[in-house]
């Protein structure tokens, strides 16, 4: 269920600054933490990128004017009938398959009953005992190898609306404003088993999950826009012990970093409680981003009572093998498999392969460039991960919007190989290609960047530089070899980088040793 929904009236007052571990996490905390280990599971919600909502034809739009995408179905008016969106089911099956789940041959929807104003029906249509997918796993590369994270379940449900609180915070507000545009947008809930053993592993799992979901093209997974949300469960136990500790639920994790930091904080807090010989109490805690601490949200004295029952307005789903096979045939090569292939097929280091395959679009770009180039794939990788990534970051450009076609990058690499331009000049050429979308040949011609191939012309410039820098030239003649670097630099400057540095070096040495 969406994170905001599980709020009871028993909001505790610890937000004002309750007991917690020392923020500095000093030597004592580190020492005690080393005797314990965390047991972490994540509950992830992603908004599926269907055009319409899960049970009605309203557009699933982000950032639209308030209440401009609602209808009697998603407003929960009496007498309406929800009708299930086929695409959302297919996205769910696709995700379940990609996460190695068993796809249910028989599935149904249930009502989860609770009161919250962002849920106008007073129940959420979700899936309880017969989710779309169960018993899957994801392999995540973590520090020191591979961790198999089991997926407990994958199910479909509807999103809730958005509340704007009068005073900015829920506790201080005398009223709230509700926008139901998001109500009924399809959500996929993906619940992992508690198989993660550090905050870093949780981060790695979340990254891999996002990567897979983006490869599948079922969600844009933007945490800052709320299309990917994550809650975490964490308990702490003595290292090596099989007895599980008391799980704490963490909410308000609004970025990948927040997930990692909140878990690290919570691990320290619980380890300190256990080290003092005390017990951790079962509760839901809220990550306070500004103070970088978790604060008590509510205690869980009793289990939640949502009185689930089968949704009478929706008939069950039968997912036969033909349907599963049809969806399976649309699965792309997934990041884990592609990562292995990049190492095998292109001889790339694991690091390069991991970065290139994190996004499908980047991996596609790389492969198209390698195919057009035909040369060393590592050279392509260096340019994609180096200059291209640098310019994309600097300008905030998505790989899909990059104006340098993979074939243009390949053409430029060939120009380096055949000596038309130097590797140094290529950076200038590439910047221009990135900014304008022009072909490398055009950039080189327009800017006069062709490498000076005429040895006579180069020799003339070398002589000029020697004449202008007699002191330095004498130093080189006297055996101070390092001084030659300065002269090479001067030649490069005069030629605006169009000289081949090796040739310049050779010409300088010829002249200065014979003098």
């Amino acid at each position: 269920m969406p994170e905001r929904a599980k709020v009871s009236t028993a909001w505790a007052a610890e937000a004002a600054g309750g007991p917690g571990p020392a923020q500095d996490g000093g030597a004592g905390a580190v020492a005690c933490a080393s005797e314990f280990e965390p047991v972490i599971g994540l509950e992830v919600h992603v908004e599926l990128s269907t055009k319409s909502k899960l049970f009605c034809g309203c557009q699933a739009a982000f950032n639209a004017p308030p209440n401009s995408h609602t209808c009697p179905v998603c407003l929960g008016l009496p007498g309406v009938l929800p009708v299930l969106n086929r695409k959302a089911v297919e996205f769910g099956i696709k995700t379940a398959l990609a996460l190695n789940c068993e796809v249910a041959s028989f599935s149904k929807f249930d009502r989860k009953n609770y009161f919250y104003p962002d849920l106008p029906k007073n129940y959420q249509i979700s899936q309880y005992d017969l989710p779309l997918g169960t018993n899957g796993y994801v392999d995540v590369s973590v520090d020191g190898g591979m961790r198999r994270v089991r997926i407990k379940r994958v199910h479909l449900e509807e999103d809730a609306g958005k509340s704007v609180h009068e005073s900015g915070t829920i506790t201080g507000s005398s009223f709230s404003l509700e926008d139901y545009n998001r109500t009924g947008v399809p959500l996929l809930e993906i619940v992992s088993e508690p198989d993660l053993r550090s905050p870093e592993e949780a981060y790695a799992y979340l990254s891999m999950l996002r990567s897979i979901l983006r490869y599948l093209d079922v969600s844009d997974c933007k945490m800052e826009e709320g299309s990917l949300r994550c809650d975490a469960n964490i308990s702490v136990k003595p290292k090596g012990s099989s007895a599980l500790g008391t799980p704490i639920e963490l909410k308000n994790l609004n970025s990948f970093r927040a997930v990692e930091k909140a878990l690290a904080y919570e691990f320290r807090r619980q380890a300190e409680i256990l080290a003092r010989g005390e017990r951790v109490t079962r509760e839901t805690r809220h990550w306070d981003e500004s103070r970088q601490v978790t604060v008590l949200m509510r205690r869980k004295e009793e289990a939640d009572d949502y009185r689930y029952f089968p949704e009478p307005d929706l008939v069950p789903l039968e997912i036969d093998e033909a349907w599963v096979a049809e969806v399976r045939s649309t699965l792309p090569e997934l990041p884990g498999v592609r990562h292995e292939r990049f190492i095998r097929e292109y001889g790339l280091p694991a690091y390069d392969a991991a970065i290139l395959t994190e996004s499908k679009d980047l991996a596609d770009y790389f492969e198209a460039a390698v195919a057009a180039y035909g040369g060393d794939a590592k050279a392509v990788s260096n340019w994609v991960m180096g200059e291209l990534a640098r310019l994309m970051n600097a300008t905030g450009t998505d790989i899909r919007d990059v104006r340098v076609a993979p074939t243009a990058l390949a053409a430029m690499l060939k120009m380096i190989d055949d000596g038309t331009i130097s590797g140094k000049i290529a950076k200038t050429v590439f910047e221009e290609m990135f900014a304008t979308g022009k072909e490398p040949r055009q950039v080189v011609a327009e800017k006069g960047l062709v490498q000076i191939a005429d040895e006579g012309e180069l020799a003339r410039i070398v002589d000029e530089v020697i004449a202008e820098n007699r002191d330095v030239a004498d130093e080189v003649r006297a055996g101070k070899d390092r001084a030659i670097t300065f002269l090479v630099g001067q030649v490069m400057k005069k030629t605006r980088g169009r000289a081949n540095p090796q040739a310049v070096n050779r010409l300088l040495r010829e002249r200065l040793s014979s003098g």
């Binding site: 319409s52 009605c56 308030p66 404003l177």
Partner: protein, 97 residues
């Protein structure tokens, strides 16, 4: 099955309803009678009957992912007890303690 006052309190809390003590006693009485009536079903042998997910023998009623017109915000808000701009305005969500 006998419904106790504690059961009434629990269900009332879930339904966000408030009763005074007299009403609770009456409610426990009435709910007990209803549950006893439904318990008659236990007299049937359902050993051979598989659990039913839905009363209607239909499966896979699905629609294509097509956008249809939504309500005009003015129309959507027409029955709202309170509004502010094009938002539904609702009372305080959490009681501060």
């Amino acid at each position: 099955m006998k419904i106790t006052i504690a059961d009434v309190d629990h269900v009332a809390m879930l339904a966000r309803l408030r009763f005074d003590e007299d009403q609770k006693a009456g409610m426990a009485e009435q709910l007990s009678r209803i549950v006893e009536y439904v318990e008659k079903l236990n007299e049937l042998d359902t050993g051979d009957v598989s659990p039913m997910a839905h009363a209607v023998p239909l499966r896979n009623v699905l629609r294509d992912d097509e956008v249809r017109p939504s309500l005009d915000p003015e129309e959507a808000l027409r029955n709202a007890p309170d509004r502010e701009g094009d938002f539904f305005r609702v009372p305080r969500i959490l009681e501060s303690e």
